[in-house]
């Protein structure tokens, strides 16, 4: 990728120091790749390894993801970014031949514990994919689907949830007059925001985003990035992206994965200005990847 290091850094907003999540971004470089941020830890992985047909897709990843922040996972194609993301809500299990070892702690609870209730976990850890995947139903039905599955029956309550979620996803004004027409008639960017609204409707605390803007045009991409900035703070966002400018623009922390291993994890600004590992520097300066 043709990556201009200076502009990427210039485009990054000041590293947020959001008071209400009690953040103070450390200004000194941590001596270890796996820094422990001085904010509340939302997700922690311990020796997380995922096998596809016996082959390790990600290898023994230890990572601590801070609450209410945007964490970007970057790395070249096939480095295990998506596998890592899908391990955080146990989506990998839908693919036959997958095996996971190690731990993923969400709010201190290991989600790979056999006693974990999968629907509850996935309600709490929502997900948005690269290709918008609205159901072939109306806009209203798409957003109301999750709450309905969780047992909300009242039409009035559902109406409120639909409006609130669509507003949160910055889509309400564009669709409020056609809530009952097909979601498939929306543009790609609108469909993606609908998918975000649909995910927000079940009130998750974490939102996993797997290259959420990779199939969208630049204007829609900007909207999605603005939306991430809006959602930051209320939700813990983890975003996989192969677009390094995007990672630099939207994230507070960045993890760099290479061939299934975590190479470096740090405050985004530092990853993009003073990476500690040569592999990271090579990747972000576009020498490979």
């Amino acid at each position: 990728m043709d990556m201009n290091r200076t502009s990427a850094v210039a485009a990054k907003p000041v590293v947020p120091q959001d008071g209400d999540v009690g953040t103070t971004v450390p200004q000194v470089a941590s001596p270890r790749p796996n820094v422990t941020p001085p904010v509340r830890e939302k997700i922690r992985t311990e020796k997380l390894t995922v096998f596809y047909d016996g082959k390790e897709a990600i290898k023994s990843i230890d990572l601590s993801i801070p609450e209410g922040m945007v964490t970007a996972i970057i790395g070249p194609s096939g480095c295990g970014k998506s596998t890592f993301l899908r391990a955080l809500n146990r989506m990998n299990e839908l693919i036959p031949g997958t095996r996971t070892t190690g731990k993923v702690l969400v709010d201190g609870i290991n989600i790979y514990d056999p006693a974990i209730d999968l629907p509850t976990l996935r309600k709490n850890v929502g997900m948005v994919w690269q290709r918008p995947n609205p159901f072939p139903k109306t806009i209203w039905e798409n957003v109301a689907y999750g709450p309905k599955c969780l047992g909300v029956k009242s039409k009035a309550v559902l109406d409120d949830i639909v409006e609130k979620s669509l507003r949160e996803a910055a889509l309400w004004d564009e669709v409020k007059d056609r809530l009952h027409s097909s979601a498939l008639a929306l543009s790609g960017g609108q469909q993606q925001r609908l998918c975000i609204a649909r995910a927000l409707a079940v009130e998750p605390s974490v939102l996993l985003m797997d290259e959420p803007a990779a199939s969208l045009d630049p204007i829609s991409t900007t909207k999605i990035e603005d939306l991430m900035a809006e959602l930051r703070g209320k939700y813990t966002l983890i975003i996989v992206t192969h677009n390094m400018q995007q990672a630099a623009r939207v994230s507070d922390y960045t993890a760099f994965l290479l061939m299934g291993e975590l190479v470096e994890f740090d405050v985004t600004e530092r990853i993009f200005t003073r990476p500690k590992r040569k592999e990271t520097e090579d990747y972000i300066t576009g020498r490979f990847g």
Partner: protein
């Protein structure tokens, strides 16, 4: 011979095959229409057969066909769709179990209908006579339901497997259970494929004769319950031509059957093209 002439010759041969296929079909259609259409009148559709079917109409056979279609579909659909759903959702495509099921279903689909007729006669008409009442609509519907199960099962499995995995993932990621995902997202998305299969099943019931000769009774009266014998249009056609020798009534019935089949095919087309 030059390569170009070889090409032309090959293409010409294929063209000839296509012409033979289409024209033989048209020939049958045209012949049946010419011989049968004049015999179809309001009276033909609404009157009962007289003089063993030499005169009168086919009203009881129309009612019998309708009864049998509704009953047969009602019996077969839950099991066929359920089995297809099980194969698609719970059995991986290449597992041993899946192969056994699929082989069984394909074999079932290939069994000659007269064999189903014999089986239905032995089980439903004879052995279960206290329940079914002998040769009745119920016995016929149970027999024909067995025959259309493979169509429904295969089509449901294919339609469910064709639902994009992204729908499933999206639903599960929202905290929906597997059952909610299947019934609220996967099945509705697969509905056009399943509906097409149901209509194909209707076509099979409308066209079936052999198995029903054993089980349905062939009564020329309008059936009043599922415990009475009846006849379908296809059976009526067979009976009036081979047992009475009324060719004109046979052709009129054949024309009617053709129109119904054409309608069903158009319906399959419309449904599978969606919405």
């Amino acid at each position: 011979m030059t390569r170009k002439r070889q090409e032309l010759l090959g293409k010409g041969f294929l063209w000839f095959c296509a012409v033979v296929t289409v024209s033989s079909l048209l020939l049958v259609l045209a012949y049946v229409t010419l011989k049968g259409a004049p015999g179809v009148s309001w009276n033909f559709l609404t009157a009962s057969p007289e003089d063993m079917g030499r005169k009168g109409g086919v009203f009881p056979a129309i009612v019998g066909t309708l009864f049998l279609v509704v009953l047969g579909i009602a019996i077969a659909t839950p099991f066929g769709v359920g089995a297809g759903l099980y194969l698609a959702e719970c059995v991986s495509r290449n597992s041993r179990l899946g192969e056994i099921f699929r082989f069984g279903i394909e074999t079932l689909a290939a069994v000659p209908s007269i064999v189903f007729g014999l089986f239905g006669y032995a089980l439903f008409v004879k052995a279960l006579k206290p329940v079914t009442g002998g040769t009745t609509l119920l016995s016929g519907a149970l027999t024909i339901a067995l025959m259309i199960l493979p169509i429904l099962t295969r089509a449901t499995e294919e339609a469910v497997r064709a639902v994009p995995v992204s729908y499933r993932e999206a639903s599960l990621a929202l905290g929906a259970t597997r059952g909610q995902t299947v019934f609220r997202v996967v099945l509705p998305a697969a509905a056009p494929g399943i509906s097409s299969a149901v209509i194909l099943g209707v076509g099979r019931i409308v066209g079936e004769t052999a198995a029903l000769l054993f089980t349905l009774g062939g009564s020329p009266l309008v059936p009043r319950s599922i415990f009475e014998p009846a006849r379908t249009l296809a059976m009526h056609l067979y009976l009036v031509v081979l047992e009475v020798g009324a060719m004109d009534m046979g052709f009129a019935t054949a024309f009617l059957l053709m129109v119904i089949t054409l309608g069903l095919n158009l319906a399959v087309d419309a449904v599978s093209r969606g919405k």
